[in-house]
Assembly symmetry: C2
Homo-oligomer: 209 residues x 2
């Protein structure tokens, strides 16, 4: 920071001109911003894992935040429906918000089905290299449908919900995700642990002894 | 910060279920989230004051972030123009993002002309009472026009820019702002100081000895 005196009209203060940038916030927090983009079928465990990661990070003093349907679809994206255009715009806005969070220095975990490769790739291209991590929550469809926590698969099977990912609309699996979590034989804790290890490997957070 | 067990891969940990909420993040940060909504004419000094506040807060260890035209209009709201509907949607989205930032525990400073009372009131109603602060940056129009840092008033006077706030479009002054800063005889440092005092009075940040 340079000690310029430009901004103030008062004569007796020395003001440091330059703006704060991301690195100042990251130094303050002792961590580096990242957007972990969880993608997977409905019922695959994305949100459960996302909140588990958030909890684990906060518990060790790392500022983390989950973007999910609850705080996005009812807020920022409440004026979007489920047409192809609206779905793309939904993901775009989440990506842009994620970018602001990353600039703030926050470990940001997004939890959306995001079935289309092109949408996910668009988000990747919005962010700087090294800030975006595509995390494929890979849970067999049969398990997702058995769980069916919101009863959505049942409604999709009867046609009550059209264009349901995995049933009547495609899920395009990531071809080269930054992390693929095969959840079938993992506890939630283990799944979350893989994400936390990813953050450590990329020096986004300090490893815990 | 508490020394709770975290989500390591170890098998001997006790996991506390339940989600993180805003208060956990605020405890971690030692501050409380707030959205300071700066409104005022073009050239009134909003952004200068916003960045000054951000810098002062970061310097004392408070996590702060500025939402302004640079990071919003070129990103999240790049698909909005300047029709009445688009202007309202612009402000709505900023309010929704501000709400997410407040939930993260960040002191958030937004810097937009936001000339319409109804738009600003809509943002206020989005947030919880006590989280939103309307800050009127009150600088006489003659001074704003003299400064004209981006040459916008000149273009508005010649008609090159239509619907320019204060010239050919209304600026609806706040009727009961949470803070009104009469900038004319203040340094930037003094103006920023008034905002920081507001945050201290509302226990959003700790007072510095």
């Amino acid at each position: 920071m340079n000690a310029s005196t430009s901004a103030a009209k008062a004569t007796d203060i020395t003001w440091h001109d330059g703006h704060v940038d991301r690195s100042h916030r990251e130094t303050l927090l002792g961590q580096k911003g990242a957007l972990l983009w969880l993608t997977g079928l409905s019922g695959s465990g994305k949100s459960t894992i996302a909140f588990h990661v958030e909890h684990a990070l906060i518990s060790r003093g790392v500022l983390a935040y989950v973007l999910d349907g609850d705080n996005i679809r009812h807020g920022l994206n409440s004026n979007l429906g489920f047409t192809a255009d609206d779905r793309a715009e939904n993901i775009r806005r989440i990506g842009e918000v994620g970018k602001l969070f990353v600039d703030t220095g926050v470990i940001t975990v997004s939890s959306f089905v995001s079935p289309y490769r092109s949408d996910r790739d668009s988000v990747r291209s919005l962010l700087n290299t090294g800030d975006f991590f595509e995390v494929f929550i890979n849970t067999p469809m049969t398990i997702c449908e058995q769980r069916d926590p919101k009863g959505l698969y049942k409604k999709a099977r009867t046609g009550e919900i059209p264009n349901f990912t995995g049933i009547s609309a495609p899920y395009e699996e990531p071809t080269s995700p930054d992390l693929e979590i095969l959840t079938e034989n993992l506890s939630v804790d283990q799944a979350a642990g893989q994400i936390i290890s990813l953050l450590e490997r990329h020096n986004k957070i300090s490893a815990v002894n």
